[in-house]
Every structure is written in structure tokens, then in C-alpha cells.
Assembly symmetry: C2
């Protein structure tokens, strides 16, 4: 009996800022799985800023989405029909088959997650690629050491809020920026960062000078733009910048920092990374992070939107410096 599933497709490539018109919806009917396959109903899916890059044509670190084809992205689902003994019905799995209500895939294309440890959506957030991104940026790229001072931009977002918590757990002095009073309150009251500021409220550099009179050791850059320029000004000698994203420039190019010459005089290191290079570390990362989550040392704040129809707007919202999500943006697809 075919299973009905709705999907989101790329209707057209955006020029500059994407709009809802760049997305279309389609309904498909999935056949029963054949041996070696599973049929999965998605419980929730992830929307992430990096997907903006896949909407463009041309070579990048992940292949571009194709016009007319279903989008992809992280998702957690439940096996509802199985032709593979390792994945009995009811198993909760993660996959990259987001942007759709259900799918059929070879068993090798999905990975079991432990639903007893955390809710399914947690595996898209602090225990998922989001948390891994924060962890890799802090400890593999920036080489953050205990006691150091770190500035994290976009700090109330999915990756930023994970980075704040992991840096605090590591015994660091954390300065965090975001773009609304509600987000600042979250950073101060829930994440207990040492200094939080609204980057629209005065000059970022003035805040940083106040928060770190001796300068910062590390900048975890989720935004690019003027905050990067301010961070370069206040980085200490041998400072490191983990370049994780550049929301400020996703849709249209922004001017580069005018003080890049400081990279020479202060011997700075700026390094970009792509989390798919580190997927093999997800199990090790989870083994380290799950106990902290279970003991309450880490939290997984989420902003939910309901249903596939809401997914494109939720995604578009992430691309604005005034994104409405606090923590991880999750699209709920079924219970």
C-alpha cells in the first residue's frame, strides 16, 4: 500500500535573498520497501543556514540542490516498515532525508539514535550536527584552552548556544552577542555567559573592550561582517578565529574587515571548517556530551514550528540577522 508523503522542492534558484517562491510542494506516493530498505516517517527536520549555499548553482563543498528536486537536510524519523533486520519497525533513525514527511532508503543510509537518552529532536540539536559543529569549532579549529576568553557571535542560535555552553563547561570566560533583548536575556539567564550584548546596541568593539579589557583569545564567528572586524581589533597576539559561518554575507557579499592586516602583526590564525569533514567524530562527541546533557550541565533549547508547510519560512528566517529562533530551529513533522 503506497504511503503518501509531501515534499519540498527547489522551484528556482534565488538571486540574492531567497523567497518563498523559490520553494514548491509536491505529493508523492512511496511504494513498500524492498529487501534491504526501510520506510521512515519523519518526526522532525532541521533547517540550517548552510542550506542557503546549496541553493546556488556551482561547485561548493556540498553539491547544489537541483531545481525541481526534493531538498535534503538532517531529519529524525521512525521506521514504519522494514525489510532490514537491523532496523525493526519503531526504530528511531537519523538521516539526511529532511524536507519531506516520509521516505524509503537503503538501511545503510540511516543511523539509529538512542531515543531513551533524549528526545528525537535533540539529535538535530545539541547531540547532533549542531552540537558537533560547536565542539569542532571550539576544540579542533580554535584549540580553545581552559581559562581563555572567547567571543561567540550569533550566540543565541543553534550552533552559538551550543558553543556558549561547551565553552563555559570548559572553564572559559564567554562573551556572547545576539540581536534581540529576548536573546540577550536567554544568554544571560539560561546560558549564564559572562557578558552578553546586542550587537545593534552601540559598537561591538566598545562592548568587547568592556567585557575583555585584556583582549580575547578566540573568536567563534557565526556572522562575519562588522563583528569580525571588531574581534580582529581585540584579539590577543596568537589569537584564533574559528570561521563557522557568515550570516551577514549569505545573501549578498559584505565588505571584508578593513583591519585584516592585524592578522600579520598579531600573528592571528583564521580557519574555516565544514562539519561534514568531521561526521566520523559524531559517536565520540555524543559519548562525551550525553552525560553532560543528562546531568543538566548542558541544555537543548529549541524553537519549534509545526508541519512541512512552515519549513521554508522557518528556513528563510534563519538567514536574517534578526532570526526569531532561540536555540535550534526544529520543524515538527509528526508525533
Amino acid at each position: 500500500m503506497p504511503t503518501r508523503s509531501r515534499e519540498v522542492r527547489l522551484a528556482s534558484r534565488p538571486h540574492g535573498e531567497p523567497t518563498l517562491d523559490n520553494f514548491s510542494f509536491a505529493t508523492v506516493y512511496l511504494p513498500d520497501p524492498v529487501p534491504g530498505e526501510v520506510l521512515v516517517r519523519n518526526l522532525c527536520m532541521s533547517v540550517d543556514p548552510y542550506m542557503r549555499g546549496r541553493m546556488n548553482e556551482g561547485k561548493s563543498y556540498v553539491p547544489p540542490f537541483e531545481v525541481g528536486k526534493t531538498l535534503e537536510g538532517g531529519a529524525i524519523g521512525r521506521v514504519i516498515s522494514s525489510q532490514d533486520a537491523s532496523l525493526p519497525e519503531g526504530t528511531i533513525v537519523q538521516s539526511i532525508y529532511g524536507w519531506r514527511e516520509a521516505f524509503i532508503a537503503p538501511a545503510s543510509k540511516v543511523q539509529i539514535v538512542d531515543a531513551k537518552v533524549a528526545t528525537p529532536s535533540t539529535y538535530l540539536g545539541i547531540l547532533g550536527v549542531t552540537g558537533l559543529t560547536a565542539w569542532v569549532g571550539l576544540f579542533r579549529i580554535a584549540n580553545l584552552k581552559q581559562g581563555e576568553t572567547i567571543f561567540i557571535s550569533g550566540a543565541a542560535g543553534a550552533v552559538g548556544s551550543a558553543a556558549c555552553q561547551l565553552a563555559k563547561l570548559h572553564g572559559c570566560h564567554v562573551i556572547a552577542s545576539a540581536g534581540s533583548a529576548e536573546k540577550i536575556a536567554y544568554l544571560q539567564n539560561e546560558l549564564k555567559v559572562d557578558y552578553a550584548f546586542n550587537y545593534r546596541d552601540g559598537e561591538p568593539l566598545d562592548h568587547l573592550k568592556k567585557a575583555a579589557p585584556e583582549g580575547i583569545h578566540v573568536f567563534f564567528d557565526n556572522t562575519g561582517g562588522p563583528q569580525l572586524e571588531a574581534a580582529l581589533s581585540i584579539l590577543r597576539p596568537f589569537g584564533r578565529v574559528a570561521m563557522c559561518g557568515g550570516v551577514a554575507g549569505y545573501n549578498t557579499p559584505v565588505p571584508g574587515p578593513r583591519n585584516l592586516i592585524l592578522v600579520v602583526s598579531k600573528r592571528l590564525r583564521l580557519e574555516g571548517f565544514i562539519i561534514s569533514d568531521y561526521f566520523k567524530e559524531l559517536p565520540a562527541f555524543r559519548a562525551e556530551t550525553i552525560p553532560a546533557l543528562q546531568s543538566g550541565k548542558l541544555s537543548n533549547r529549541e524553537t519549534f514550528v509545526d508541519g512541512l508547510d512552515a519549513a521554508p519560512a522557518a528556513f528563510l528566517d534563519l538567514l536574517h540577522s534578526g532570526a526569531h529562533n532561540i536555540g535550534k530551529m526544529i520543524v515538527k513533522l509528526s508525533d
Copy 2:
């Protein structure tokens, strides 16, 4: 009997581009050395772009020059009077007491160089801090590997010409840029780089695409500015940028690269360095480089100006993208 010496002092700090008015000359009379000291007559001195930074007030990686005080910089001299047994008269020594004809210093403040191996000025060029800068940038910062493709800007200058030669010796494909037909001819005919272009002649990116259709692995950045932007565009995934200088922005800030977001998507690493952090490696570097120089695999092209009076103008010339020197700029002070 006092020894007469003329010196160059910082008359005033420049605002933007320095001029000859920022320098003044003074004549001093040096006493005889006391035990533990030597009196040295300088044979030649170095002028280097980094000195521009020391003309500014404020914290930097080296203390600023002080208004009214004698400038400093690399120099090679001959001991003409000694009160230290390890440095007999006639010994050729290097020091940081440039910008003057003669000086007195404790023996510990000068280092012997082997005048049988190379001419004195070579120890300011390919065998000196200049050569070490190229070597550190290539092999310690950029981690250049045999067979890789490297782009070197400011390639006809002191550090650039050393970097071109060391990269060629290392079995790399070398693309080099400079700002005049004479410099391009030097890069092509004497340094035998694989592709040389005048960065004022068309778009740097067009040249780079022609010279490296598969992209470049490393950019050795002596200039900053538009050539850095072009390099970011054509760097391959996991490419490295050794940020050695930014002549384009020494006097006035220049806009940063508009495509800095590529650092994320291509997982690039940009790293600055200051050669004084690596001075302890000078003996090891020389041990490796002297045989290559003696066998003719390395050359030490120099541009000479004569006499201390010519030093300020020679220095100012280095700060322009149209600097007239090919190879190392040397101010001759005595024979």
C-alpha cells in the same frame, strides 16, 4: 679618540604616508669601548616595510620608534675597536643597530657572520632575516609541500624573490606577481618562475585562472588588497595563506576582501607571522641555505643605494606598490 657617526632619527610620526620630513639626521661622537663592548662601523643596513609599523605610536609586536631617538634595523658591520676577546677587530657582525654609521654595543648584542661564505649584505638578504621570513612563511606557516602550486605576491621584492626561489627548489609550481615589466622579466628570466604577471595589467584573478586552472594550494601574501581577494577566489579546498605583509595597507587602511566567506566553504587557513618569533632558527636556516647559495641554486639579487643620506628615501620607496627595488634593498654605508 671619539668616533664620528651620523644617525637617522624619527623627527615626527607620520599621518598616513610618511615623508622625508618624518626623518632627521644627527651627528654623534662615540667614545672608546669599555671592557665587554665593541665599536662597530656599519658596512650596510637594511630597510624593510615592517619598519613602517614602528613609526606609529601604540602597542605592536615591536616597540614603536621614539620621536627624537635613532631608528633601528638590521645592519652588518665590522668591529673597529674591541674590548671583548670573542670579537677581535675586523670581525664582521650583524646587529639591529642600523640607521647609523657606527655604534658601540655590548659584545652580546652582535652576532658574528661568516664573511668567507658570502658578501656582508647577503646576511641582510637571502641568508638573513629576509630569507628566513620566506622560509618560515613557506614551510612553517603555509606548510608548502612538494608539487603544490603557490602564488606569491610582491614577488620581485626581498622576501618575495627569496620565497620564489625556495618554492622552486622545493619542487613547486610558482606563480608570481609584481608591478613593472622589469620585475616581471626578472621573475621570468632569473628566478624562472612558472608564470609571472603584472598585477596592474588586467585582473589578477584572470591571470591566476590561466596560470592555475586547477586552483592554488598556497598564497604567500606580501601585499594584501585585491590580490588577496583574487587568491581567496582561486585557492583550493584546504588552501593556506601565509600572511607576511600588506604593503597595500601600510599607510592607509584598505577594504578587506569581499569574499572572506570562502574561508568557511573552502576550509581555508589564513595565518600571520612575525619573523622575530623565529630568530632562533636562523642558524638552522643558514645551514640549509648556504650550500644552495654556494652551488648557485639560490641567488641574492640586491638593489643598492649609497650612503646614510639615501636611507629614508630608499625606505619610503618600499612602501609603494611601485617600489623600485628588485630583490633586497640595501643601503651601503662603508666599504
